[in-house]
Amino acid sequence: MPLLELREITKAFPGVLANDRVSMKLDKGEIVALLGENGAGKSTLMNVVYGLLTADDGEILVDEKHVKIKSPRHAIDLGIGMVHQHFMLVEPLTVTENIVLGREPGRFGVIDFATARQRVREISDRYSLKVDPDAKIIDLSVGMQQRVEILKALYQGARVLILDEPTAVLTPQEVTELFRVVRSLVDEGLSAVFITHKLEEVIAIADRILVMRDGAVVGETTPSATDEIGLARMMVGRDVVLSVEKGVSQCGDVVLSVNDVHIEDDRSLEAVKGVSFAICGGEILAIAGVDGNGQRELVESIVGLRRPTRGTIELKGNDITRANARASIEAGVSHIPEDRQRRGLVLEFNIAENIILGDHREPPAADHGIMHPKAIAELARKRIADYDIRTPSERVLADSLSGGNQQKVVVAREIGRNPELLVAAQPTRGLDVGAIEFVHTQIIRERDSGKAVLLVTFELEEVLSLADRILVIYEGRIVKEFAVADADAETLGYFMTGGGGSKLAEEQESKPVESSVAGGDK
């Protein structure tokens, strides 16, 4: 007996048919994976189920009864919970406040915080999802925040848990942990809809797989009946190269050189404790590390968003230690930020405007302070075509693009600028396999044209397939350097989690310069 059934759900936005007569079933204790290209309509479908959007046509059945889900409140009452692609947490509030929001225990409008905290503890113990109930969201890592989102859905009494790209922002360890949690939830009798672009995850966790393309379901399969290559073909409609080919790096002159920088985080604690390295033209250097080990601060200081307290940063021999974001762009640094919505886009601007951000002072976008709308639109259309951004027009607001297409806008702008140095943080976050292949090819093309690339990512596969050289960062120090040929996921993981220990870090600190000069310089 299906717990949830969708029949012929149709939803159109101006210029796009986001869901075209989509039907699906979800049984009790089942995990269905929803797979599909960026913009295929996965989030839209789930937002319809959660009552955030209303379908133009079609039926929803819960427990075999027809329902019209008009609001999230209604969905919650029916036992549907959702962890959104972009988190729905109120940052200055505490974990407990976020979890109980909308269903606070208490009487006469007064919240009984003791009970609230107690219930949060109970659920978090029961599913072993450890969190500090009194921590503020803003102080939590992304993985922790996601845990809070899951707890929120469980607190609301979810029987069906919708997870929209839950792993896009997680480190490999956190993904393993999430899988454990989802399995234990299913053992308890819950059902889950799992949206992801990572094919190996689909194979690992799903009972059934539904593939969408252009708003419609194009196929259904099970993990035992297919493999990653087969899934990719179903999804994109052609064969996809899952790992890109690349030649040997031709190391040229040093492009970026970072010398003994110390950087403080927002709480004025030292996050980067004396890091030195250099990247030469034609090289992709990856910084691998678990989130929160100083890579964010390091990236921000290279792109002009944060000032180091000590040390220098040079781009092609020019000191850019104190450059601001504008000077940094003008010096030839491009930056794909890890959080596209907060740092990469102005969501209220349209695609064309977002595509020229940062280059909006210069031709072809503008001359002498006057913008040229025609040239801007033309450039935007070219980028939309080149980067396969799925949208009806360049005048669509960034806010209404699908998550992956928002990411493509950022990538198109930053690579399209043709920089000397490309700093890419999680550049393929939320992209489908086809788009990842494309972005990887672009990054390698940048390298092959003699540009330097700094890649910061938790995706070990991405590190291993793109990088020429890998630095492992741990607690604000570079603890290990690898040529890509000598590295594998296991050793990287070992050093990333502090396996090398502080001993290595100290050794590193005593001789920071020699051990981290670019390979081509030696």
């Binding site: 999230p72 729905m88 947490l89 109120v90 940052e91 909308g102 606070e104 007064v110 929120k152």
Partner: protein
């Protein structure tokens, strides 16, 4: 001379001056916490002040006047709520329009109701709550203490005490009730509030109407407890100073009250010093300027680092 300036009266006056600012500032706090900028506090206060006087003149009861002021404030705030929440228009534009409207409307109503611009007739004001003898056993140590206490704490009219109670209750409610939690979440991440099934539109409407009631009450305090008549544009920028007090108070009711008290103190001091301007020999405009200079200094310097609710001023659209 210092002894003539630092008197119990100065501090009592600070509380009085602070009251309209504080009420409007708490209104601003509630409104901005919900995600709506309320630049219309000034105009709402003015309409409240007028409605209070008009009803008191008509029915002879200043208490009825207070009720009228609050209702008038709510009515004007409803315009702001409708334009900024339902129509999703720019909240600063809507607020500015209301301020201009309030100025014109009160002037116009004065003409048709009383046949002249300027100032209305005097009304019976609301009396202080307690009335104890001031100079009981003056000269003795306890007499002096009593005298200070009586003047500073026990000499006030009801709304002055009301403002303190409102500040404390609102502060408590903001951190201990459902309403407060929803309010704090609304201005930060309205979509998150929506996804847990709490109505953003409703929450914002309530907040804007509450700010209207408080600004209306501020107007009532001004005319029915302090001045005793209505004069065109008598709020004289208090609504804007209240907004500054809200920011200085970091978007909390008690903070807003405290900041208003500081502004009120400077206002009281300014008046006090004017009496001595013959001796100090500084032009009177200098003193009049002080509360405003303080506002600018506070906003530019001290509050430079204050961060308001993340989604304030942004209309919310479902889906």
């Amino acid at each position: 001379m210092l002894g003539d300036i630092i008197t119990p009266d100065l501090f009592a006056s600070a509380f009085r001056m602070a009251t309209p600012l504080a009420l409007a500032a708490i209104g601003g706090t509630i409104c901005e916490r919900s995600g709506v900028v309320n630049i219309a506090l000034e105009g709402i206060m003015l309409v409240g002040a007028f409605a209070g006087v008009a009803v008191t003149l008509a029915f002879g009861s200043p208490w009825l006047g207070v009720v009228a002021a609050v209702l008038a404030g709510v009515a004007i705030a409803a315009i702001h709520a409708f334009t900024s929440i339902n129509l999703r228009s720019d909240q600063v534009v809507s607020g500015t329009a209301i301020n201009i409207l309030a100025l014109g409307l009160t002037g116009f109503l004065m003409e048709i109701m009383y046949g002249h611009p300027g100032t209305t007739e005097a009304i019976i004001t609301i009396k202080p709550v307690f009335r104890f003898a001031t100079e009981r056993g003056s000269g003795t140590f306890f007499g002096v203490i009593w005298n200070w206490f009586n003047t500073i704490v026990l000499s006030h009219t009801p709304i002055v005490y009301g403002a303190i109670i409102i500040a404390v209750v609102a502060q408590w409610a903001m951190y201990n009730t459902r309403w407060g939690l929803h309010l704090r979440a609304l201005g930060e991440h309205p979509r998150a509030v929506d996804t847990v099934g709490v109505s953003v539109v409703r929450g914002r409407w309530i907040a804007v109407l509450m700010s209207g009631a408080l600004a209306g009450l501020a107007g009532a305090n001004l005319t029915l407890e302090q001045v005793g008549s209505f004069t065109e544009n008598m709020t004289n920028g208090r609504g804007f100073i209240a907004l500054a007090a809200n920011i200085f108070g970091r978007w909390t009711p008690v903070g807003s009250y405290s900041a208003s008290l500081l502004f009120g103190f400077f206002d009281a001091l300014q008046i006090k010093l004017q009496i001595f301007r013959g001796e100090i020999n500084i032009p009177p405009q200098f003193f009049l300027m002080m509360p405003y200079v303080l506002t600018v200094v506070v906003l530019a310097g001290v509050v430079g680092r204050a961060v308001g609710p993340a989604a304030v001023g942004k209309p919310y659209k479902k889906g």
